[in-house]
Structures are given as structure tokens and as C-alpha cells.
């Protein structure tokens, strides 16, 4: 029982990070109907931005940690907007495949530029938030788990509010629904799409900082593995759907953890993918996704 609870805590902690990254995929897909493969590399840039900012911080504190996170989120938001402006916007009216290939190219570019700029070797990540352990009976909860979960929940709620209750959120939904009609209604599509990329990239940066805080060795290829898992999580939950991404992330995190803790530990990724296939067979749009009839 103790082991079960402990694994559940471990799973929720990793899962909430997958959820944060999955949100970025889902957000961009929701508005533009394309998968931004460079997202996992923006996640990496976020971690490195946090590393450089954190080095100047000195003492670890909650305020300092948040400051580093906000700084990295701002840097990545700008990066995300630049990527959209110069790599994706010129191709917006071309076939979806061209944009997809460009996204893969962008991902490789960021990975290799990262190796050049940050160096290819793993580097230690400075402590930004203070950390200690809390023992609840036989279960141990690290403050790292609490911070990761707390930040993920807050960002998720904020995002949901933003999309559903604000003007820009309404504009995002309108653009997602029908870009041409939205433009005719006086919505500046370019601004909305730019904002979406900025928002998604800021979430990736937050994910990157939390990831680095929990696993304090970072390198320019660190985004590949969690990015892939988070992408699966987004599809599992229903890509384009915000609560779906969160649910998918948590689910994958928990399943992965339980499999890793069992005798079949090396099968953890395979089992996540098998699960994806099974769920997609019965719910092709994902757990919370809605199947929309194809427009003719």
C-alpha cells in the first residue's frame, strides 16, 4: 500500500510535467491544426535560460525561483513568436505538410544550435526553489513534487480561464473555429497566432524549468524524450483540448511510473504507446476530444 501511494505521488509529479508540455502541443494544434515539433526544443531552451538566470540568483528561495521561471517564460515566449514569424508564417497558406517538415527542421536547428551555444555536455542546474522532504507516514513527498504539481495546476487553471473568459481567448477560439470568418469579423489573425505561439512556448519554458529543477542535469537534447511522451499525452487526451492534455499527461505519467516500478520496467514506453493505440481505436479523437465532421 505504501509503495502504491508512493508510486502514485511519483507518477503525478512526472505526469504534471508531461501535462504542461502537452498543453503547448495542444494549444498550437487547436488554433493552427499543425503539430509544432520544435516545442520540445523550446522546452530545452527554457531550461537553459533558467540555468543562466538561476546562476545569478545566489540563494534559493520561492520568490527567486518564480522570478527565474517568469524570466525564462518571457524569453521563450519571444523565441516562440520569432519561430512562428520567420519559419511558419511564410508557409501558412501552403500545404500542411510543408509546415510540418519546417517544424521538424526547426526542431533539429534548435537542437544543433543548442549544442553549439550551450555546449553538448550535460550541465548541472542550479537550485532555484529551496527543497526539502516531507514524511507523511511511510510516504515521502519532496518539495520538488509539490512545486511541480502546484505550478502545473496554477498554469493549467490560468490557461483555461484565459481561453474561456478573456477577449484574446475568444479570439483564439474564433480563429480555431474558422480563420477566414474570424478575419472578416475584424480579428487580427496574425496577432492571435503569434500570441498562441508565445503562450505555448512560455508553458514549455515553465515545463523546462520544472523538469530541470526535478532532474538537475540538462543538455541540448533533453527535450526529445519528454517531448515525445508529452505529444503522446496530448493525442491521448484529445489534441486541441486543454483539459484533455492535462488528463493525458497525468495518465501517461502514472502508467509509466507503475510500469517502471514493476518487473517490466524497460517496457514502460512501449506500454504507453500500446495504450495510445488501444484508446485511439475506440476513441479516435482521444479521451476528451470531440470528433468533428470534415468540412466540405
Amino acid at each position: 500500500m505504501t509503495e502504491f501511494l508512493q508510486q502514485l505521488i511519483n507518477g503525478v509529479s512526472v505526469g504534471s510535467m508531461y501535462a504542461l508540455i502537452a498543453l503547448g502541443y495542444t494549444l498550437v494544434y487547436g488554433v493552427l491544426r499543425f503539430i509544432n515539433f520544435a516545442h520540445s526544443d523550446v522546452f530545452m531552451v527554457g531550461a537553459f535560460a533558467g540555468m543562466y538566470l538561476g546562476r545569478n540568483l545566489g540563494q534559493a528561495s520561492v520568490g527567486g525561483g518564480l522570478l527565474v521561471m517568469l524570466g525564462a517564460m518571457a524569453i521563450c515566449a519571444v523565441l516562440g513568436m520569432l519561430i512562428e514569424r520567420f519559419a511558419y508564417r511564410p508557409l501558412r497558406d501552403r500545404s500542411k505538410l510543408s509546415v510540418l517538415i519546417t517544424a521538424i527542421g526547426m526542431s533539429l536547428f534548435l537542437e544543433n544550435a543548442g549544442q553549439l551555444v550551450f555546449g553538448p555536455n550535460p550541465q548541472p542546474f542550479p537550485t532555484t526553489f529551496p527543497s526539502r522532504n516531507f514524511e507523511l507516514g511511510l510516504v515521502v513527498v519532496s518539495s520538488k513534487d509539490l512545486v511541480v504539481f502546484g505550478v502545473a495546476v496554477v498554469l493549467l487553471a490560468a490557461l483555461q480561464l484565459l481561453v474561456l473568459k478573456t477577449r484574446i481567448g475568444t479570439a483564439m477560439r474564433a480563429t480555431a473555429f474558422n480563420p477566414q470568418a474570424a478575419a472578416l469579423m475584424g480579428i487580427n489573425i496574425n496577432h492571435v497566432i503569434s500570441f498562441t505561439f508565445g503562450l505555448g512556448s512560455a508553458l514549455a519554458a515553465a515545463g523546462g524549468i520544472l523538469w530541470a529543477y526535478k532532474f538537475p542535469k540538462i543538455d541540448p537534447l533533453m527535450g526529445i524524450a519528454p517531448g515525445l511522451t508529452a505529444f503522446v499525452a496530448a493525442v491521448l487526451g484529445g489534441i486541441g483540448n486543454i483539459p484533455g492534455a492535462a488528463l493525458g499527461g497525468l495518465l501517461i505519467g502514472i502508467i509509466e511510473t507503475f510500469v517502471k516500478g514493476s518487473r517490466w520496467s524497460t517496457w514502460s514506453e512501449a506500454i504507453a504507446f500500446i495504450l495510445l493505440i488501444i484508446i485511439l481505436m475506440f476513441r479516435p479523437a482521444g479521451l476528451l476530444g470531440e470528433t468533428q465532421p470534415e468540412k466540405v
Binding site: 555536455n121 542535469k217 524524450a225 511510473t257 510500469v259 524497460t266
Partner: protein
């Protein structure tokens, strides 16, 4: 004009007289190492040791009146890259012998190429038995994992007084899987019990699931035959889960990066690992080597640096006795390397082309590696 260009082109194809003369004055030695990437510390140290040895030999007049030229390729710590690097060294640079690598999986990969082209390869510090089993052109100047596993099994039972040990293995690493098996066999033969065996893969960052399962099994110590990058994360997460028992491992732990970063030194305090060399050992040969290395690179050498140095000594000894820089003759001479004094002890290559050398156990204290004991074969 065109004629001039053509003429220049043709003359460029034939080596000029000076070039041939210069070629005759050097012996090309290839080296492949993980200079960047996840095991960069290994590659850097090994390369520094190798380079120092080549410089020492050349300053002392070279071999057979010729200078050694070291040509180094980086395999970026990636599986697959070492085969490419070695092919390049053999076919383009025409090296007479290959030195490298540290990680067993990459040494094996290169060994298949070296064996195919019949170019002798000396691995400075790959300890998995399969490396030299690839073929008769493959040698090494370090001990092998059956020995290292036994040493650590005895250490666990005697010094750590452990009866129950848990294993945490990187299934993607030949080194890790092999060392875990040899440790397990040795520990069970000594009356110990393996209470948990957990596995992970190279890209894993989250080990809490495996560690939670290990914690439930309540071991007296945890054996982690893995490379330093993963060990740091494992140690941090183990302490976060409230696991307080000592962790111990093999020579894959030895890198200054092991205790770098927040909390790493505290998490690994009082942990142990086995390796090939300690700069603190009391021997004039070692003191001289440490001083020379420090003067050249500004840091204290570790086992990978020392073995890199010794791999060059073995090669030079073979070239001298062969009286030739022909690859086949070097191979034959390497097979009979005997009582060669180096910085990691006496090298004698046995019929399996492996060396038998003492192991050194180091303890981690305050983020530093402190000499604990030497175990002779």
C-alpha cells in the same frame, strides 16, 4: 591558364618528395573518444592521458627514430558514431593502430571494424569481456568486469557488511549489464542475497519508480553499475525518497561531474566505487605522472587519464619490439606485452588479450574521491 591549373592538379595527386620524407618520419596513431556528450568527462580524461603520453614519447626521441602523430576523432558519446570515426581513421588517415574507447559498447562497435581491417585496437578502459572477444586484433590495458564485479561483491559483504543488496542496471549499456551480472554471481556465491533488480535505459531521468520498488525491498546497500551522469540523478532521487543506505558502483562513476550540482555531493557522501587508479597512491611513478599531468592540463588525472597514458605505453612497447610500424607486426608484438610498467600498475596481456591489474576502491567524501583500498587480482 587552364594548363597551369591542370598541371597543378596533377602534381597535387602525387606526393612530393618532402611529403614522402615527412611521412616516413612519423607513425600515425588513431584515437576515438567521447570528447563531447553524455560521457564527455571519460573522453576528455582519456584523451588528455593519451596526448600526454604521445608528447612524452616524442620529446624523448620518438619510436624507431620516428615521431608519433595522434589523430583524434570525437564520437559524441553516441552509439553508431564510433564505427564511423574508426572507419575514417583507418581508410582516410591510414593509421597503424587505434586507441579507444572508455564505454564498452562503443569499443565493441569499433572493434568489429578494426578486426575487419586488421588494424590493432587497444582499449584503454573498457572493462566488458566482450570487447577483446571480438577478435585477435583487439587488446586492452585494464582489468575486466568479472574481476571488478567480484571485488565489489567482496567489498559489499566485508566492508559494507551488506547481506541484502539491490541492483539498478542500465539495460542499454553492455558495461552495466555485464558488471551487474558478475557482481550478482560474486555476491550470491559469497552468501549474500539480491533483494531487488531494477532496470532503466540511457535516456531516463526519472528513477523514482525503480527506487521506490528498491526501497520496499529494504536493502543494506544499492549497487549501481552505471555511468556518472545517471548516477548523480539516481543518488539525488534516492535521498529524496528517504533511502539512506550507501550506494556503490564501478569505474563508470569516476568523473568530477559525479558530485557537481546542487545536493549531489551530499547525496553521494559515504558512497564507494571501484576503479583502476588513484592519484593518492604512494608510488614514485604515480607521483611523477600526476605532477606532469597537472603541469600540462592543470588538473589531477583520474583513472581514464592514467589508462589513456598506459595504452600508448603498450603500443610503443609493441612497435619497439616489432621493430616496425606495420599493423600486423604490431599486433603480434602486442600479444606478447609482458611486465610493462605503467602508471596503473604492471601490464601483462594474457591469452585473451586482457590485462590483470589491481582494482582501487575510492570513497566519496565532501564531493572528493578519497583512496580507500587496493585489491589485487
Amino acid at each position: 591558364m587552364l594548363l597551369a591549373v591542370l598541371a597543378a592538379g596533377f602534381s597535387g595527386c602525387k606526393p612530393s618528395a618532402e611529403e614522402t620524407a615527412a611521412d616516413a618520419q612519423i607513425i600515425k596513431v588513431g584515437e576515438f573518444a567521447s570528447l563531447t556528450g553524455s560521457e564527455a568527462s571519460f573522453g576528455q580524461s582519456s584523451h588528455d592521458g593519451t596526448l600526454l603520453a604521445v608528447e612524452d614519447i616524442n620529446n624523448a626521441g620518438g619510436v624507431l627514430g620516428k615521431k608519433l602523430q595522434l589523430i583524434t576523432e570525437d564520437d559524441q558519446s553516441k552509439d553508431g558514431e564510433s564505427a564511423t570515426a574508426v572507419k575514417k581513421l583507418i581508410s582516410r588517415d591510414k593509421v597503424v593502430a587505434i586507441l579507444g574507447e572508455v564505454a564498452s559498447i562503443r569499443s565493441i562497435e569499433a572493434a568489429q571494424i578494426c578486426q575487419q581491417y586488421k588494424v590493432p585496437q587497444i582499449s584503454p578502459s573498457s572493462t566488458n569481456p566482450k570487447v577483446t572477444q571480438t577478435g585477435d586484433y583487439i587488446f586492452r590495458v585494464c582489468f575486466i568486469d568479472p574481476f571488478q564485479g567480484t571485488v565489489m561483491a567482496q567489498f559489499a559483504a566485508k566492508t559494507l557488511k551488506a547481506k541484502k543488496v539491490a541492483l539498478l542496471t542500465d539495460v542499454g549499456s553492455t558495461y552495466s549489464v555485464g558488471l551487474a551480472d558478475f557482481f550478482k554471481a560474486g555476491f550470491i556465491a559469497g552468501g549474500g542475497e539480491i533483494v531487488a533488480e531494477q532496470k532503466f535505459t540511457k535516456d531516463d531521468k526519472d528513477f523514482k519508480a525503480q527506487l521506490t520498488a528498491v526501497k520496499t525491498a529494504n536493502p543494506d546497500a544499492i549497487f549501481i553499475p552505471a555511468y556518472y551522469g545517471q548516477v548523480t540523478l539516481i543518488a539525488l532521487q534516492a535521498r529524496e525518497l528517504g533511502i539512506t543506505v550507501p550506494l556503490f558502483g564501478g569505474d563508470g562513476w569516476e568523473a568530477p561531474e559525479l558530485t557537481e550540482g546542487p545536493g549531489a555531493a551530499e547525496a553521494l557522501e559515504g558512497c564507494y566505487f571501484s576503479t583502476h587508479f588513484s592519484p593518492e597512491q604512494d608510488s614514485p611513478k604515480i607521483k611523477q605522472f600526476v605532477a606532469a599531468y597537472q603541469k600540462r592540463f592543470g588538473s589531477v588525472p583520474d583513472a581514464m587519464g592514467a589508462l589513456g597514458y598506459d595504452s600508448v605505453l603498450a603500443l610503443v612497447d609493441a612497435i619497439k619490439r616489432a621493430g616496425s610500424s606495420d599493423s600486423d607486426k604490431i599486433r603480434d608484438a602486442l600479444a606478447t606485452v609482458k611486465n610493462l610498467e605503467g602508471v596503473t600498475g604492471i601490464t601483462t596481456l594474457d591469452t585473451n588479450r586482457d590485462a590483470q591489474k589491481p582494482a582501487v576502491i575510492l570513497e566519496i567524501k565532501g564531493g572528493k574521491f578519497v583512496y580507500k583500498e587496493t585489491v589485487n587480482p
